[in-house]
């Protein structure tokens, strides 16, 4: 029987602008919160392994080896620590490696921390840094960026399925409604469909970023950190923790072609579909079991496409569910109750960890009033790197 692995501590700083802080410091704040939440701040050297998710501190902050730096700030030496880099999917990859470290028997308690400071550089430099994950000759050198990929993907999706810019705006309204209630969200402000899509002034208020994507179709540039404490629920160390674990029921990951043009159909996100299927199989679940999902909506159109690839909606039909309000907090299947990347923010290396923190908050019933999903049993996250070429899906369960 495979190990039962659960999450017993969570920490999360408010996402936003931390550009005046040190990256290892903000990660240490979140880690400290997770250790306090788990009730082992004093016994923190009981942690067997630390994984730090970070995509590009060398480029954003001119800083490297942040894992060992953070361990030192936490006074946790000699606990071993490594940095995990897998583009914007670094966070969920670190959770996966934490799970694997425990499942392998090498560790019983693992601290997973995600952190990124992107706002030390200008917005366009941040866009350039993120674009370094693209193929250097075939994509980056041609001037492609992630927003430009998002724009092309959105245009194809809209043309093929009949989704409109207003449908994308409805996702933003839903995400901002949730983010406005999330104490950790970067953008804690609601927006209205009238203002960003319907009014005479909407075209300028909600201006184009990469047509047809507008500013309210695109995540902000965000700094932030968050942390999880994983434990082997059957080990003696499990007794150290005061909170009932939220069990990690399934993890799946997959890789797609680096170059998007090498895919048979650029609208198909095979790595998402495969990662989701693996996670369902490991958990012994199917899409109908999922109570809510945290999906990687760096661009709102991705919320639609990812939800379809993991089987939550029929292909090309997710936007119709959005129109009916099915993905709102009171809908049939709430998506991105945290506000998603759109409102909560997207500090690239931290995002996958943050998504799992939200799964835990929801499954514990600790989300803020107004954005708590009713009686959730299974939550699913999908963390999406590159333009869909590295993807990790995670399912957490309230037992």
């Amino acid at each position: 029987m495979s190990a039962r692995i659960g999450i017993v501590g969570i920490g999360h700083i408010r996402f936003g602008n931390s550009s005046e802080y040190d990256l290892a410091d903000i990660m240490a704040y979140a880690a400290t919160d997770a250790l306090i939440d788990a009730g082992i701040l004093e016994q923190r050297r009981e942690v067997d392994q630390v994984f730090v998710a970070n995509m590009a501190s060398g480029l954003f902050c001119h800083q490297s080896s942040v894992a060992s730096s953070m361990v030192s700030k936490l006074d946790m030496e000699p606990v071993p620590a490594e940095t995990v880099e897998n583009g914007p999917a670094s966070g969920a990859s670190a959770v996966k490696l934490g799970y694997m470290a425990i499942a392998s028997g090498m560790a019983d308690v693992v601290l997973v921390v995600g952190g990124e400071i992107m706002r030390k550089v200008s917005g366009w430099e941040a866009t350039d840094v993120v674009a370094t994950m693209l193929h250097p000759e075939a994509e980056y050198a041609m001037g492609l960026t992630l927003p430009s990929f998002g724009g092309m993907f959105a245009r194809l999706y809209m043309d093929k399925y009949g989704c409109t810019e207003r449908d994308l705006a409805l996702i933003a309204v839903k995400d901002h409604d949730n983010g406005a209630l999330n104490k950790y969200a970067h953008v804690q402000a609601a927006c209205t469909i009238e203002a960003i899509a319907d009014s005479e002034t909407a075209g300028v208020v909600n201006n184009y970023i990469a047509e047809p994507l507008r500013i309210y179709s695109t995540c902000p540039v965000t700094d932030g950190s968050c942390a999880l404490l994983l434990v082997n629920m059957d080990s003696p160390k499990a007794k150290l923790f005061k909170k009932k674990p939220v069990r990690i029921a399934g993890i799946g990951s997959a890789t797609d072609t680096h170059c998007v043009h090498n895919r048979k159909d650029p609208l198909r996100l095979d790595a998402v579909r495969i990662a989701g299927a693996k996670a369902y199989k490991m958990a012994g679940l199917n899409p109908g079991d999922i109570s809510f999902a945290e999906l990687h909506d760096a661009f709102t159109v991705l919320e639609l496409a990812i939800s379809e690839e993991i089987g939550l909606f029929e292909r090309g039909k997710a936007y119709l569910a959005v129109r009916k309000g099915e993905t709102t907090i009171k809908g049939r299947l709430p998506i991105n109750p945290s506000g998603g990347l759109k409102a909560k923010g997207h500090p690239v290396g931290a995002t996958g960890v943050s998504q799992v923190v939200e799964l835990v908050r929801q499954l514990r019933g600790e989300a803020e009033e107004g954005r708590q999903v009713k009686d959730p049993k299974y939550g699913m996250s999908v963390n999406f790197g590159g333009f869909g070429n590295n993807v990790v899906a995670i399912i957490c369960a309230k037992d």
Binding site: W124, C191, A195, S199, T201, A202, G203, V204, V205, I215
Partner: protein, 228 residues
């Protein structure tokens, strides 16, 4: 104040500023912002709005607030020529202020853009209104612009593709601090205005009435825990 002969010598000559018609913009939050010219008698409210930001170093609010404070005084006490001040008000509460002046009928000198309420692109809307006033209403062909903050530089120099005139210094120079001078030409404005400048006119009287009496903000995101 008695306007004696000496005072008349101290006052700069005035070109005569053409009135800027008020407009309204529905912000992303759904709130309606009225953009209108500030009146000289409102200077006290404007100064009281600007003053708390003099101590905020982040994003160069301190420099912008200090300079704008001086420019508002100069406008009120007739020490700055041909200046206009626009305010953005939400239910009367000042959300942002911009000011500028005409050097002559063909050249505008953009002074400052101060955003109080952040996250709704209020600064971008007010800057666009300022340029609209210069080119569409005052008749300028060019507006000189400098930026104190990286945010301003990104918003104006990059988003409007402003012409860099810094190589022409000192023959071409902005009045503020000797920073690199950029220029919005009428051609650049025509290219940018559809995507940058918006607003509905005329403003219905009941909405315009909300901005009749300007109110100083009671909250500044830039100053946590601020109390007036």
């Amino acid at each position: 104040m008695a306007i004696d002969a000496l005072e008349l010598k101290l006052r700069p000559p005035e070109l005569g500023i053409v009135p800027y018609p008020a407009k309204m913009i529905t912000l992303a939050s759904g709130e309606i912002m009225v953009v209108r010219e500030a009146k000289r008698e409102e200077v006290g409210t404007l100064l009281g709005t600007v003053y708390p930001l003099i101590g905020v170093s982040a994003d160069y609010y301190d420099i912008v607030a200090c300079r704008m404070y001086e420019e508002l005084l100069g406008w009120y006490r007739y020490r700055t020529a041909n200046e206009f001040v626009l305010v953005g008000a939400i239910n009367g509460v000042i959300a942002g202020i911009v000011n500028s002046r005409s050097v002559d009928h063909k050249l505008g000198m953009s002074l400052h853009t101060l955003t109080i309420k952040r996250g709704l692109r209020i600064g971008a809307q007010l800057f666009a209104a300022k340029m609209e006033n210069h080119i569409e209403y005052q008749g300028a062909d060019e507006v000189y612009i400098v930026a104190e903050s990286p945010n301003g530089w990104k918003r104006w120099m990059i988003e409007y593709s402003l012409e860099d005139r810094s190589a022409l210094y000192p023959a071409v120079r902005h009045e503020l601090g000797g920073g690199p001078t950029y220029c919005l030409t009428r051609k650049l404005w025509e290219a940018a205005k559809a995507s940058k400048c918006t607003g509905t006119r005329p403003v219905p009287p009941e909405i315009l009435a909300t901005a009749n009496k300007l109110i100083m903000p009671t909250e500044y995101v830039q100053i946590p825990g601020f109390k007036r």
